[in-house]
């Protein structure tokens, strides 16, 4: 028996086979149906946008972690998830330079200075989308009609507005129910098809990748706010459906609210976090300067998630003391 390769390691000596790259691969698989639907509506440009975003994020992450003297980990595909999510909330007619800038911002400013992927304070996808919205407000919120194939290279003139814009002005967009659910209306590239989003969500639930508690409380808050305080003068069901499907509310709820690094880790803070993000999203949509509000709401609540964790530890500590004091002592 050759004993030269023996090393000493800490217990336990067996580990799960579901490691971090496999979990992140599940998230990438759940994003792919959205790209497929966007390809049907807008053509090959969509796939090139996604590839450029993913490549930018991945390469910048490798370079930045090498420069900051961290161990370079090729199997860390979390930046690829960020790079695939950012173009989905932008129109398909957007320039490549805007996507590259937003992805560079999300990696170099939001992730790297805090210690790399895993130590970030803010959600990188939400921060990239917010940065794009601040810097190029006209480009990010004017769209083209679906089912018109866009050329891969060259400048495209976009001139349509999404239903969220008309809702903000106070008008009621005329949309068929089937059109609304399949996403055949003017809007961001990947956030309009509800069926693809629900398919991705069910896949993530079954594979136990997602925090279902944050997502559930987020949807409860959003639907309650849309039903109780409608913006348009029609019955609440159609108001809720229009508001839900017209922007990136569902997309943000599934992919941005449930981001594991920035969300709290204990059960009760998860409910509070999701609920407050829902309320803030609706407030930003109604009273904010832009027509979408998920990214900004997520960024605000990210500041509070470590605080919620620490306070819940205190609550658990004291409740455990009370439970031990109340329990009748065993006869032993």
């Amino acid at each position: 028996m050759n004993t030269s390769r023996i090393q000493k390691k800490a217990p336990p000596h067996i580990r799960t086979s579901r490691t971090a790259p496999i979990i992140l691969l599940d998230v990438i698989i759940s994003i792919l149906p959205l790209y497929f639907m966007a390809y049907i509506y807008y053509g090959l440009r969509v796939i090139v946008l996604g590839a450029i975003g993913a490549l930018t994020c991945f390469l910048l992450n490798l370079i930045a972690s090498a420069l900051s003297s961290q161990k370079v980990n090729i199997y860390n595909i979390a930046p690829i998830v960020t790079g695939l999510l950012i173009p989905l909330a932008l129109p398909a007619a957007i320039d490549y330079s805007i996507v590259i800038c937003a992805c560079a911002f999300s990696i170099l400013v939001v992730e790297m200075p805090f210690g790399g992927c895993g130590f970030n304070f803010f959600n990188p996808a939400a921060a990239g989308i917010a940065f794009a919205a601040f810097c190029w407000p006209t480009s990010v919120f004017t769209y083209t009609e679906p089912l018109v194939k866009l050329p891969v290279f060259g400048k495209i003139v976009a001139s349509s507005y999404s239903p969220a814009y008309y809702l903000k002005l106070g008008a009621v967009p005329k949309l068929d129910l089937v059109d609304l659910l399949t996403g055949e209306f003017v809007g961001p590239m990947g956030t309009s098809c509800v069926f693809a989003l629900i398919a991705g969500f069910i896949f993530l639930l079954v594979r136990k990748v997602i925090n279902w508690r944050t997502v559930l409380s987020y949807f409860v808050a959003v639907i309650a706010m849309f039903a109780l305080f409608p913006r348009i003068h029609s019955d609440s069901i159609s108001s809720v459906l229009l508001e839900l499907c017209s922007g990136s509310v569902i997309f943000g709820g599934i992919f941005m609210v449930s981001e594991p690094v920035t969300a709290p880790k204990r059960n009760i803070p998860k409910y509070i976090y999701g609920f407050l993000i829902g309320i803030f999203t609706v407030l930003f949509r109604y009273y904010g300067g832009f027509e979408q509000g998920v990214a900004f709401a997520v960024l605000i609540l990210n500041i509070f998630s470590p605080l919620l964790d620490l306070y819940s530890e205190k609550v658990i500590y004291y409740s455990r003391r009370v439970r031990i004091a109340r329990k009748p002592k065993s006869s032993e």
Partner: protein, 411 residues
């Protein structure tokens, strides 16, 4: 509720070692002088003396069987005896194999203890969630009930439910029972131990009866090592310790398994991805990710608020972590710090120690707040100010005198 119970589901990997008969490493038995005449069921004092002369060590917790029996008869007075064939760790099957293949001796040992301690309820406990077995575990072994423990790993938390929740039970390992039966019937000293040799480097995994004090490398060679191992573990696969030099490490009575693994790939450098699987899985409802962060930054004094002393070192958090961090190692480090502080200050229980630290921190906070409290008793404060002024004046005059003497001394 079983749906939301804490813990992890593990693949047990107990075959093919469990189905084979127990092998024997060639060794000579040794005997002790028995002063008592042979009786089929000796009394408790005789049994305790026989166990002490035969030097039987219980592999369930490493204590001498004689001490356990004497404690039970004088102070403990248990209601039932349970033979421990639980084996909820993967790869280990040394106790379960004894219960299946050497059931005569096990039942003889159990009956000896039961009659001596005058206890009627006895049973053998076995883990239920073993899915890859090729033999069937019967419901009765030699007319003794086999109790199956359901649930996820770690299953030791669920032992309390057998024979009633708040009743005292005596748990003895099957190896100790076998040695006790041999000691009473053949006057044999315990010189052997039952060890599972397994792992993905071993060609013929089996349960073997080795002599105590055998080097681990001989134990591994007895079962043919096929690949070069990168890790050799003595003890369980979840809680055992990994050793560097197999030829110098010796087998003891409670090293229940020797495992040799080959890691095909190196561990990759991931950071905590915040998935919160460790908090979902911890049976004591701790937060390993927070304890890991604080211990890595060496902020030990703030660990009091996380109840670190409740950790029972099961290793579930490290098993489940997707980033392959050493969570259990860091939590145990923090726990050892708190326990050491406990022994330094003479406090008996861990929760008391944490309350002490908590109270000290509260006192510090209160002291800081006290500076802004309005002085209501004026006379005391006036006296304090006067005293301080007098001392200041004295120091100034002393300084002036030394300065004058220094100037006079200069040319």
């Amino acid at each position: 509720m079983p749906l939301f119970s804490k813990g992890i589901i593990l693949e047990q990997h107990k075959e093919p070692a469990l189905s084979k008969n127990i092998l024997q490493y060639p060794s000579e038995p040794s005997f002790f002088a028995n002063p008592y005449p042979y009786s089929e069921f000796p009394s408790i004092e005789q049994l305790t003396d026989i166990a002490r002369r035969a030097n039987i060590i219980d592999e369930h917790d490493g204590a001498l069987l004689a001490d356990k029996l004497s404690f039970s008869s004088t102070k403990g007075h248990p209601v039932g005896i349970i033979a421990d064939a639980l084996d909820d760790d993967p790869y280990i099957s040394s106790q379960l194999a004894l219960a299946l293949h050497q059931s005569d001796l096990i039942s003889r040992g159990l009956h000896l203890c039961a009659v001596a301690l005058k206890i009627k309820s006895i049973c053998i406990m076995v883990y239920k969630n073993i899915y890859d077995l090729s033999i069937q575990i019967p419901t009765m072994i030699k007319n003794i009930n086999v109790v199956r423990i359901k649930g996820k790993y770690p299953a030791e938390n669920r032992i309390d439910n057998i024979l009633g929740k708040s009743k005292r039970k005596l748990i003895i390992g099957t190896g100790a029972l076998l040695h006790l039966a041999r000691a009473v019937d053949e006057n044999r000293i315990q010189t052997t131990c039952f060890v599972t040799v397994s792992g993905n480097c071993i060609a013929k995994p089996a349960n073997v009866e080795f002599p105590i004090g055998l080097p681990v490398s001989s134990a591994l060679d007895f079962c043919t090592v096929a690949l070069d191992p990168t890790r050799v573990v003595v003890g369980g696969s979840m809680t055992g310790k990994s050793i560097l030099d197999p030829s110098s490490e010796l087998l003891t009575a409670n090293s229940r398994a020797v495992l040799a693994f080959e890691d095909r790939r190196e561990r990759r450098a991931f950071n905590c991805i915040g998935c919160s699987r460790c908090t979902e899985v911890c049976p004591q409802e701790l937060a390993p990710f927070l304890i890991y962060k604080y211990t890595a930054l060496e902020k030990y004094d703030e660990l009091y608020r996380f109840d670190v002393a409740r950790c029972d070192e099961c290793g579930s958090c490290s098993y489940v972590c997707p980033a392959e961090l050493d969570l259990a190692d860091y939590v145990i480090k923090g726990k050892n710090y708190i326990l050491k502080k406990m022994s330094d200050s003479g406090v008996t229980s861990a929760s008391e120690q944490q309350d002490l630290i908590h109270r000290k921190n509260l006192k510090k906070l209160k002291k800081r707040r006290m500076r802004f409290v309005v002085i209501t008793d004026i006379s005391d404060s006036v006296k304090q100010i006067r005293n301080s002024l007098i001392s200041v004046k004295r120091s100034i005059t002393a300084n002036n005198k030394t300065k004058k003497t220094q100037e006079e001394n200069r040319p």
